[in-house]
Structure formats: structure tokens, C-alpha cells
Symmetry: C2
């Protein structure tokens, strides 16, 4: 199960694995940027910027395909073992997560487009805060993957509770508005949907963080806390 034979036969394995990780970071940066742009466009009620997010999926999709191909090439040519094997299979999963995050930015922009058709329900404070937290969770989860940093991964899992609490708060507050003033029902619904999309971005970061802990510590936090396997 040693990985020495791989490195003897194919000296570039480490470099290619490093490149793969760098490309994942680039993809993560792009996905995060799309969420940030969608959120700014929502806060500024900027219809053109929202439109640009809806139509701007291509670079992330291209990276998704490129990263998948890199992963399968590494698996087929180098036949890695143990942690390297898990790291590469994880990269396939992470690129899928990041692609969905970019899709969620589109969903946010679509709901934003509907939201700005109406007078604003309220000043947006908690929702941009949710966006910041979900973006920072995503960034930390990717860093935890690249650096195999279990503590950072654990911090991502803890942040998810903050995001969840904000989601509940947003829901309750908007429900109050809707009950008090029927004209706010439709725009409030779009804000609730946006808060759910942001929650899901946090879920994707959580998925990555759980897999990092699994990969590094060879234990499965996904369903059993800290129980050893």
C-alpha cells in the first residue's frame, strides 16, 4: 500500500496533484465571487448585475469539466493509494459542490430579479451576513482540503450553526412582515428563498469539511461525530 512505486514510475504525480488542488482553489474563488456579485447586486437592486450573474455560468462549468478530467487522469495513470486516492476522489466531489454553489448564485440572482420588482421589504442586513458566512465557510473548507487541516474543517462545521440560526431569524422576521402587510408577501417569499439558497451554500461547505476530516483522520464524522472507524 506504499505509494513509492507510483512516484518512481511517474515522477510528476505530486506536481499534478498540486496543480489539481490549485485549480480547485481557482474554481472555489470563482464560485464565491459569483455569490458575492449576486448579493451585491441584490443589495444595490442592480438589475443588470443580476442579469450578468444569471448568464455567467460558463467559466465555472468549464473548470468543472477540466477538474473532473484531471482527477480521472490522475486515478487512471498513477493508481494512487490511501490518502492520495481519497484526496482525488474528493476532488471530483468538491468540483461538483462548487458547481452547485455557482448554480445557487444563479438561483439567488433569479430570486433577486423578482425581488427588485417590488418596493424593498426592509434594509437587508441578515441576508448579506448569511452570504458572508457561507462564503467564508466555503473558503475555509477548501483551504482545509488543500492543507489537510482538520481544525479548520471543524471550524467550518461550527459556523454552520450560526448560519442556521440566521436562517431561522430571517424566516421569523419576514413572516411577521408578511402577516402585517400583504403587499410584502411576494417580495418576502423571494428573500426567504434567497436565505435558503445561502443555507445550501453553507451545506456544500459543510460537506467538503466533513470529507476533509474523513480523509485526513480516516474517521467518519458524517454520521457519527468523532467515533473511530
Amino acid at each position: 500500500m506504499s505509494r513509492e512505486p507510483v512516484e518512481r514510475v511517474v515522477p510528476h504525480f505530486r506536481e499534478e496533484l498540486e496543480q489539481l488542488k490549485q485549480r480547485l482553489l481557482v474554481m472555489g474563488g470563482l464560485a464565491e465571487e459569483r455569490v458575492r456579485t449576486a448579493m451585491r447586486a441584490l443589495v444595490d437592486a442592480d438589475a443588470d448585475a443580476l442579469e450578468a450573474v444569471v448568464g455567467g455560468d460558463e467559466p465555472v462549468n468549464q473548470l468543472h469539466i477540466e477538474i473532473d478530467n484531471r482527477c480521472y487522469r490522475l486515478l487512471a495513470l498513477h493508481q494512487p493509494m490511501a490518502t492520495d486516492l481519497r484526496a482525488i476522489v474528493m476532488a471530483v466531489k468538491i468540483s461538483t459542490d462548487l458547481e452547485r454553489v455557482a448554480d445557487l448564485a444563479v438561483n439567488i440572482a433569479e430570486a433577486g430579479r423578482r425581488y427588485i420588482q417590488h418596493p424593498p421589504v426592509k434594509e437587508l442586513i441578515d441576508i448579506p451576513r448569511m452570504a458572508e458566512i457561507s462564503q467564508s465557510m466555503l473558503r475555509d473548507a477548501l483551504d482545509a482540503y488543500v492543507q489537510r487541516d482538520i481544525q479548520l474543517a471543524q471550524a467550518v462545521l461550527n459556523e454552520d450553526d450560526t448560519l442556521d440560526a440566521l436562517k431561522t431569524q430571517v424566516f421569523r422576521e419576514l413572516l411577521t412582515y408578511m402577516l402585517a402587510k400583504p403587499a410584502t408577501i411576494e417580495p418576502s417569499l423571494n428573500l426567504i428563498l434567497i436565505s435558503r439558497h445561502l443555507e445550501r451554500i453553507g451545506d456544500h461547505a459543510t460537506n467538503i469539511a466533513e470529507d476533509v476530516i474523513y480523509m485526513v483522520a480516516a474517521r467518519d464524522v458524517r454520521h457519527h461525530g468523532a467515533e473511530p472507524r
Copy 2:
């Protein structure tokens, strides 16, 4: 890139791959059953049955871990190539999709629990219909994976449009109720959330179907329609 050496060295590879697929089908059946149970409990306003869905995640989670372990063992011991490699990495992704579907059944049951605190908004027709479609999409996507059936995978992608149209219809109808009668706002919100959870189950089926087409036809429908790679 022939797989002959693998089969010469390890004669049980085909059997183990077959077992892996069977376990995925079992997991898919369990996940689907949880969605069905949640939906029936919602329609019957059965608080105990909703509670059972919320607390009943364990068997699916166990299968998730078992299937992941099977995949990594197959990859490490047999070092498969080409389509087999893709099929096994896909199994890792599919088991994650199925685990999320089971989580969505929990989310449906949680929203259902809140829904039945209020008088019913309307007779539930479109939402159970959405549940049926999403379950059948999931079943077909798994069958397409096991049988490497591109046509069946394509049919799953087509069904997603039906699900999307129903989701929009549910949203519009409930919005009308909410605007007409504020007492329906809170329960209607829970129905809207449930319809979004069902849409996401369809998304998971779609993900699997897209990957099947990618695996079998070695082309990427995920971002480029039928364009060859």
C-alpha cells in the same frame, strides 16, 4: 488501458462491482421509501409518522459509509480503468446524492410537522404528484446507472422539466391563497418549502442521470447538451 490484467489478478472484481451496484439500489430504495413515508404522513397529517421520518436516518447513513468503503476498496485493490473507474467514482457521488435525498425526506417531515399545526390550506394534489415524479426519477436514474442505459438517463432529464413546472404552479397557487387570506401564510410557506425539497430530490436524480450519460457515452451533457467531448 485494457481491463484484462485486473480481471486476471483479481477474479472477483466483477462480482464486487456487481455487489456495489446492488447495495446502491438498496440504498436508493431506502431513500425513496423515506420520501414516500414523509409524503404519506403529510397527506394524512400523521404526527407520529412524521416524527418517525425525522428520527429514522440511521440505516441510510450506515449504507452511505458501507458503500463509500466498498468504493475505496475496489479502487485501491483493483485499480480499475476507463468505464469501471468512472462507475466506481460515480458510486461515491451517488451514495452522497442518496444520503442527501434521505436528508430531504427529514426536511419534508420537519416542514410537515409545522404544517399540520394549522388547519389545512388546501387538498394536497400537486405536491404528492411532485413527490411521485421525483421518486420515479430517482429510481430511473439508479436503474440507468446499473444498466448503463443512456436513454433511460435522458428520460430522467426530461422529467425534470415536469417537476419544475409543477413547482412553479404550486408557488403561484399558494401565493394566491396567502394574498387572499393571511391565516394561510404560515402553513403555505411550509408547503412551498416542501415543494422546493421535492425539486431538490429531482435535482439529485438529474445529477445521477447526467453522470450516467457522461460515464457511458464519454461525453459531458452536464454543461454542453449533446456536444461530443
